[in-house]
């Protein structure tokens, strides 16, 4: 039961952190709760479907379908998060100041929210499908009945949600003048971490060279499977033994999105309101 809880927690953690950060980053966007829960539900449903079709997906593209699928899902999430970051850097502060006064804010907010739905949905889809498979595996093998599994799974899910809620609550306490910088930076690092993970899957599928494997090894100082390592992995894409290509993807994503954010902010400042 304990082992089940730990594994489920690890799977849930990444999605929970992402949702916590996104929820905080968009706290002033009108109607965002509806969209976030929409994404969550769609992701859960999708996770069940993906779990069901795991063998079909895996068999695609001569055995590397799973890697392609994961890389594709991550790639789309990176693009969406990039768009979100750039959009927020020009509209975020304004939305917070005049909340519901602008008619345009609602319309823009809707578009922004549909992106959130996709990002949240994809995160839940990816992590959720592995959880479903894992739970299915033990429920099929377990002789002691399904109660310990359900209990363990439940504890894991709740613990994951608790951490997501902690980061959400923590971010809301950040003073307003730092708030958009803080959430903006977190979303940016999330996106860069996802880009690195996408590269990881493509290397595993032998579609990209690793460049250096590993580029560095910090598994003695900070093991990736430790609590802090897991947390940093989910938040900023930390890996103890990253491959060169992953670091390249990470840096490129970081630079491209940050440049986009600066550029959007710059344009916005000169636009008469």
């Amino acid at each position: 039961m304990f082992a089940t809880a730990v594994i489920v927690f690890r799977e849930v953690l990444e999605a929970a952190l992402l949702i916590g950060i996104i929820a905080a980053a968009t706290r002033s966007v009108p109607g965002r709760n509806r969209w976030l829960s929409g994404g969550l539900i769609a992701g859960l449903a999708g996770a069940g479907v993906v779990a069901m079709f795991t063998d079909t997906i895996a068999a695609m593209a001569s055995g590397i379908g799973q890697e392609l699928f994961n890389a594709g899902v991550l790639g789309i999430a990176v693009v969406m998060l990039a768009w979100h970051s750039i959009w927020m850097s020009s509209h975020g502060a304004e939305l917070a100041k005049q909340a519901k006064k602008m008619g345009g804010a609602i319309r823009d907010g809707q578009r922004e929210c549909s992106i959130l739905l996709v990002v949240v949905g994809l995160a839940v889809l990816r992590e959720g499908s592995e959880t479903v498979l894992f739970l299915y595996g033990i429920s099929a093998a377990e002789t002691s009945g399904s109660l310990p599994m359900l209990l363990g799974g439940g504890i894991g899910v709740l613990a994951g949600i608790a951490v997501g809620y902690l980061i959400y609550g923590g971010l809301l306490r950040v003073p307003m003048r730092w708030f958009f910088t803080a959430t903006g930076a977190l979303v940016l690092l999330l996106a860069a971490g996802m880009a690195s993970q996408a590269a990881h899957f493509l290397i595993q599928a032998d579609m990209l060279p690793s460049l250096a494997a590993p580029l560095w090894d910090t598994s003695a100082a900070l093991p990736e499977q430790s609590v802090l390592g897991q947390l940093l992995h989910s938040l900023i894409g930390y890996e103890a033994k990253p491959q060169g290509m992953q670091v390249l993807f990470y840096v490129v994503a970081l630079v491209v999105i940050a440049t986009g954010m600066r550029w959007a902010k710059h344009l916005h400042q000169f636009k008469p309101q």
């Binding site: 999708g46 055995g63 498979l133």
Partner: protein, 120 residues
């Protein structure tokens, strides 16, 4: 690729074109020659549990899961992670490796599913 259409709420066209682009991009590098090795998962154990591979070569690892339940091939040492459905094979590319021992395990059955790849 039928099941892709089950994915909720994002452009199917976009997904397909991303996958398509990846496929084209990857087809060239996949031609590189590499050694091929096989591992079988049965009763939540790896057979062989110890695999010797050459140093400095890219390795194509075929892992066949003969159990009815899914397993996740995972290795912190190799930085690899892959879910393998029940009664299914999977392909994982590793290396080129430096000389050493690289532990791997089945995350879904960690107690029994343990193995090591030795590069020498």
């Amino acid at each position: 690729m039928k099941h892709i259409s089950f994915l909720p709420f994002y452009s199917r066209k976009l997904t397909l074109s991303v996958l398509g682009a990846l496929a084209i991009f990857g087809s060239s590098s996949a031609l590189a020659a590499e050694g091929e090795y096989s591992i079988v998962i049965q009763d939540h154990r790896f057979q062989p549990a110890e695999l010797v591979v050459p140093v400095g070569k890219k390795i194509k690892l075929r892992v066949e899961n003969r159990d009815a339940t899914p397993e996740e091939f995972e290795s912190h040492d190799l930085n690899r992670e892959k879910v393998i459905a029940g009664k299914s094979p999977a392909t994982i590319y590793i290396g080129p490796l430096a000389a050493g021992r690289y532990r791997f395990f089945g995350e879904f059955n960690e107690k029994t599913a343990q193995g090591v790849i030795i590069a020498q």
